[in-house]
């Protein structure tokens, strides 16, 4: 069964190739190919998962080499896959959520002229993402990594007629590539030091050769972190993600919520040994995660575009994952990655259904009262929102977020300070989530509903609603239920784990209680501000300091302006003034001088014999004087 592994990425690639090469297929065929390729790989992934759980391969991993890729002088990365618990979780998420979103897109994109192009890109994306998580060496990982970046670029700019979309797409590609530069340099460093780029060998040799806390480990970890920050939209490279919402909504759900943006989390979890060797890098990850989850959460509070709320919320939830990684809670990070993929995809898709029904209206302040008109969308959106806000007991988000919270508390790398910040973030999450729910579905109706979602969209929403409610069941808290299926499983791939010291049950109960109460209070505050007394929130937003704060948060803390002034403008200015290449002037001056001399010399050729005679005599005299005077 495991030998079918290569088919999982190969099938979406085959779908992509077919869609690119066969021009002008009917829409039904396009949708069938697009969905079937991913659906088949999802089925194979499930089969392999079943086999992996029932009879694990020796050493709890399976590798498959297709061919040696680049081979020269001791450097021989292969087109080779490494399947272990970590990559298994990722491929299940990617193919599962990917398949559902393909199905959803078949209806969502129905009226679009670029139907075939859309599915080709989407298939290519799924293929690249699978290569990314299955790669057994960093070079192949980079292939997937850049491949998903390309697809993200293509899909953000899918509606290419609007130059704004093109700008957003380029921004996403360039900003993530800035992070990739760090990652590349990190890989060169790893190869120079350890002589391999095979991931497991790198981790093994680093563990043997590098002292914990050594400068080299720190450098390697920080450089890899640079790549992860770009891809996962963490401070200070987060600015591209809100703009990436220019793409079609299924793209936002698949690439910019469920899968691609989690690649950074995966990368750090994959290279956890390097980070364990560099405590300072771990601390950096935790601090960046905390700062990101707070700033992005506050920004989400100020948005009026429903997709931008979700985008900032994604950045913020990724911040939670980074915080978990930073305190060494690898499985908590991966758990949240999984549940977040489910409920955030659900939220995006439900929002997409809304947007479609309202003829591409995305402003929440022009929605309202949709609870009655679009009941399925409302209920599924609410289920997603409950998970995102981590309301107690219901929804998978509660379990994964609580796991992060108490791992942060008990981890030697974490502590109460990080815990408090994360708790504050949870309250903010609850606030902006229910602000979104109340603005869209409650109050008075402001826009007419034009179309209602059809069968495919509804089915996908319902499946995701079920998954995001019960998906948390794979891991239940120590204090009740005590299911550790997920973390035990992940333990086979990611060694170290935050261990629970005995006798902390009372503390954990208390932490759980505090968090639950505060989150519920946050939701109630949102209800008070946007349903009970809507004029209150309006008055705050319109007051002079309130408006300033709102503008600041709306613009994402002014990062774009800083980068424009520091990087973009100087670069375009330098490009503009030196369009004609200043170096060429050196040669132009040489040529000009030669010509000028030529003109001067030819001036002497007057053709007048008397002048020649005078010059000749004068010259002879000068020479004679020189000769005699010496």
């Amino acid at each position: 069964m495991f030998e079918l592994l290569w088919l999982i990425p190969a099938l979406p690639f085959a779908g992509f190739l077919f869609l690119v090469l066969a021009g002008g297929l009917p829409r039904s065929a396009v949708a069938a190919i697009g969905c079937a390729s991913v659906g088949l790989s999802a089925s194979i992934a499930l089969l392999i998962c079943h086999q992996f759980l029932s009879s694990p391969p020796p050493g709890d991993f399976y590798t498959q080499t297709l061919w040696t890729w680049i081979e020269t002088a001791n450097f021989a990365p292969g087109i080779a896959f490494h399947l272990d618990a970590l990559s298994l979780v990722m491929i299940l998420v990617i193919t599962g959520v990917g398949f559902l979103i393909h199905l959803y897109s078949a209806e969502y994109m129905e009226g679009d002229e670029g139907y075939q192009r859309f599915f080709a890109y989407l298939n290519l994306f799924v293929g690249c993402m699978l290569v990314l998580v299955l790669a057994d060496n960093f070079v192949l990982l980079l292939l997937g990594w850049e491949g998903v970046g390309l697809c993200s670029y293509l899909l953000i700019g899918f509606w290419y007629r609007d130059p704004e979309n093109g700008r957003a797409a380029r921004k996403a590609f360039v900003v993530t590539r800035i992070g990739d530069t760090a990652l590349l340099i990190g890989l060169f460093l790893l190869f120079a030091e350890l002589g391999t780029l095979h991931i497991q060998d790198v981790l093994g040799r680093a563990g043997e050769n590098w002292e914990p806390g050594s400068g080299i480990a720190l450098a390697a970890a920080l450089l890899i972190l640079g790549g992860a920050l770009g891809k996962s939209a963490q401070l200070p490279l987060q600015t591209w993600l809100p703009d990436a919402m220019a793409g079609p909504t299924p793209v936002s759900a698949l690439i910019h919520a469920a899968t691609m943006v989690t690649a950074g989390v995966y990368l750090i979890a994959r290279t956890n040994v390097l980070f364990e060797l560099a405590p300072a890098a771990m601390l950096t990850v935790a601090i960046i995660g905390t700062a990101t989850l707070l700033t992005a959460g506050l920004s989400a509070l100020a948005q009026s575009d429903i997709k931008r709320v979700l985008a900032y919320s994604t950045i913020s939830q990724l911040g939670y994952m980074f915080l978990a990684l930073g305190v060494g809670a690898w499985s908590a990070a991966m758990f949240h990655l999984m549940t977040h993929a489910l409920f955030k995809a659900l939220l995006f898709l439900a929002a997409g259904a809304l947007i479609l029904s309202l003829h591409h209206e995305q402003n929440m302040f022009r929605m309202g009262g949709l609870r009655k008109k679009l009941p399925v969308v409302f209920w599924t959106f609410l289920i997603g929102a409950v998970s995102l806000a981590a309301l107690p007991l219901v929804g998978s988000g509660f379990y994964s977020k609580e796991k992060i919270l108490w791992d942060v508390w008990i981890s030697p790398h974490g502590g109460p300070a990080f815990w408090t910040a994360a708790l504050l973030g949870a309250v903010i999450t609850s606030l902006y989530t229910f602000r979104m729910v109340f603005l869209t579905f409650f109050g008075s109706a402001k826009t007419e509903v034009y179309v209602r979602p059809g069968a495919r969209i509804t089915t996908v929403l319902l499946i995701l609603a079920v998954l995001s409610t019960f998906g948390g069941g794979v891991e239940l808290p120590h204090t009740f239920g005590h299911v550790t299926f997920f973390s035990n499983f992940l333990q086979t791939a990611v060694d170290t784990e935050v261990t629970l010291p005995p006798g902390l049950d009372a503390v954990l109960w208390a932490l759980l209680g505090i968090a639950s109460v505060l989150v519920v209070l946050g939701a109630m505050a949102a209800w008070f501000c946007y349903v009970k007394r809507p004029e209150l929130s309006r008055r705050i937003a319109e007051s002079s300091p309130g408006a300033k704060v709102r503008a600041f948060l709306l613009a994402g803390w002014g990062f774009d302006r800083i980068y424009d002034h520091l990087i973009v403008n100087p670069f375009t200015f330098a490009a503009r003034i030196n369009r004609a290449d200043i170096v060429d002037y050196v040669y132009a001056i040489t040529a000009g001088t030669a010509r000028a001399l030529h003109v001067l010399l030819s001036e002497t050729q007057t053709g007048r014999l008397r002048l020649y005679a005078v010059v000749l005599t004068a010259g002879t005299l000068v020479l004679l004087i020189i000769a005699f005077s010496s």
């Binding site: 530069t181 290449d581 170096v583």
Partner: protein, 561 residues
């Protein structure tokens, strides 16, 4: 014999095409197609033999030419030369296909010039006598001058003369350097010779070595082109007809890279080692500066032209990093750049044929009208920005991995250049294919002929990107022999020399040619040589002491800055 044919067929074909034009206007292009396709097949037939015979040289051709001056008509082909000759004729066939209909104006003379350039380029890649090398080097220039000057665009005269002056000035330097090398060798041994293998072991006083090395270096750096000698390139590329741009970017630039690999570092190891920091700095500047200039252009061909400056910067730093990864990367990068930039010029030329403009301000929104062109342009733009899975990535990655071991700073700056490549590549797509339809609203999509031509290049880049092994295996022995710095006589197996692949440029390596063939070469390698090349560079770059590759160890001492 086959080597002679590789050069003779295009030259004879060129003369035939010129003559045949009197009788039929369509005959020249068929002759040209034959005169490029046959050598391509001949060169391919050498491929299989490469791995069979163990030595460096797959085939040789050696007859005396001017014995009194020690000049021989000496041709030899090894993996490096073979790859570049294959590239030459592949792009040759495609250039003929691209100019199939576009030259009503004196087609015979056009194809004569085209074929003469191909013959000259091939000669450059396989000549092993430096005098003969110089002869072919000059043979490439004049027909290219005509190609630009007669069939070029608006500003063709300026561009053609600029091209001619730059290459002639650098050619003069090359000639002086070759003669200097010849006499230095004569002074040392009393033998008049221009033979590459004989000249390899010449030793010089440091200042003379540096002077001669600079002569070679500047000549090749102008062709490459390296910053600050790059300014001829933008004009020449922009004004040349499509086939001319393809050959300029795809082949003529490669002769510069080839010269650096084959002559500069192997003949002048000590001087090159001293000069390496300067050369690598110039390479890094070229990468960044070229990318910035490319981004600033609104003329599509000019933009693509400047990307060559950026990409060839990788060749320059790779050559002077001089370890197996970097050399292999340089070779892959040269081939991949030939394919990807050639393709971009074909697309730019196709747009110009349709719209009669290269100004991107008048383009935009072509995607719906020309989806095939747009998709292919996107593919080649991605190759240009170094997307993994396509050829350029393999080249750049290997160069950077090799460079990092020599100089962290240069590798870091060069890596930043990849962001620059992203910016300009995406800019092409945005300005030409995305956005609202511009002034020129309708544009015809690629014809079948154009699609076939570009598809060949797509396959080439994908093959190079996903299965570069066949190319790397072809060039790996060459990479070792070049680094050994010692000559391997044609026909003498050179496999023993792979032992000291990383102990490059030890002064003792020069003595190898005097040692009896049965003495194990590794004895020399084990000497505690101050690893000439690497050591002297590291001392210049005090922050890094990484001197040898990971092959000889599992852990390299690393002093972190």
């Amino acid at each position: 014999m086959i080597l002679l044919l590789l050069i003779a067929i295009p030259i004879i074909g060129g003369l035939a095409a010129w003559t045949a034009a009197r009788w039929s206007p369509t005959a020249p292009r068929w002759i040209a197609l034959g005169a490029t396709a046959i050598p391509l097949v001949l060169a391919l037939s050498l491929w299989g033999q490469g791995s069979a015979s163990g030595g460096q040289w797959i085939a040789t051709f050696d007859v005396p030419w001017i014995p009194a001056a020690g000049i021989d008509f000496h041709l030899a082909i090894d993996g490096l030369s073979l790859l570049l000759v294959l590239l030459t004729y592949l792009l040759g066939v495609l250039s003929v296909a691209v100019s199939w209909n576009s030259n009503e104006n004196r087609p015979g003379f056009f194809f004569f010039n085209l074929l003469l350039i191909l013959g000259g380029t091939t000669g450059v890649f396989i000549a092993l006598d430096l005098f003969l090398f110089f002869f072919f080097w000059e043979l490439m220039v004049l027909p290219m001058y005509f190609l630009i000057g007669i069939w070029g665009h608006e500003n063709r005269n300026y561009a053609a003369i600029k091209f001619f002056l730059f290459t002639q000035a650098s050619g003069l330097l090359l000639l002086i350097a070759i003669l200097g090398l010849h006499f230095a060798h004569f002074a040392e041994t009393g033998i008049h010779t221009f033979r590459y293998e004989d000249l390899l072991g010449t030793s010089f006083p440091p200042s003379l070595g540096m002077g001669l090395m600079l002569g070679f270096f500047i000549a090749f750096a102008v062709k490459l082109p390296a910053f600050p000698f790059h300014t001829w390139l933008a004009d020449a590329h922009t004004e040349a007809p499509t086939a001319g741009s393809v050959i300029l970017a795809g082949l003529l630039l490669k002769t510069g890279g080839y010269g650096l690999l084959r002559f500069v570092v192997p003949i002048f190891p000590e001087a090159s080692a001293v000069f390496a920091p300067v050369a690598m700095t110039l390479g890094a500047i070229g990468i960044l500066y070229g990318a910035k200039l490319a981004f600033a252009q609104s003329d599509l061909k000019r933009l693509v032209a400047y990307t060559s400056v950026s990409h060839m910067g990788f060749v320059l730093i790779g050559v002077f990093a001089w370890n197996t990864w970097a050399i292999q990367g340089v070779i892959v990068q040269m081939i991949a750049h030939g394919l990807s930039t050639g393709a971009l010029f074909i697309i730019a030329g196709g747009i110009q044929d349709r719209l009669h403009t290269r100004d991107m301000n008048r383009m935009g929104g072509f995607w719906p009208h020309a989806p095939r062109m747009a998709a292919l342009a996107l593919f080649f733009a991605m190759a240009s920005l170094g997307l993994p899975g396509l050829g350029n990535f393999v080249g750049e990655f290997l160069v950077l991995i090799g460079t990092f071991q020599k100089s962290i700073a240069v590798a870091v700056f060069a890596t930043v250049g990849i962001v620059g490549a992203t910016v300009y590549s995406l800019w092409i797509i945005q300005r030409v294919f995305h956005g609202e339809a511009g002034e020129a609203t309708r544009i015809a999509d690629l014809s079948v002929r154009e699609t076939v031509v570009l598809s060949v290049l797509v396959v080439g880049l994908l093959g190079l990107g996903l299965y570069p092994r066949s190319v790397l295996q072809m060039s790996e022995p060459v990479a070792s022999v070049l680094q050994a710095g010692a000559p391997s006589e044609p026909g003498v197996p050179g496999e023993a020399r792979s032992d000291f692949r990383f102990h490059t440029f030890s002064p003792t390596a020069v003595h190898l040619q005097h040692s009896p063939p049965d003495v194990p070469v590794s004895i020399h390698a084990e000497k505690p040589v101050a690893a000439g090349f690497s050591a002297s560079f590291s001392s210049a770059e005090s922050d890094s002491t990484v001197t040898s590759g990971p092959q000889s160890k599992t852990h390299v001492p690393f002093i972190f800055p």
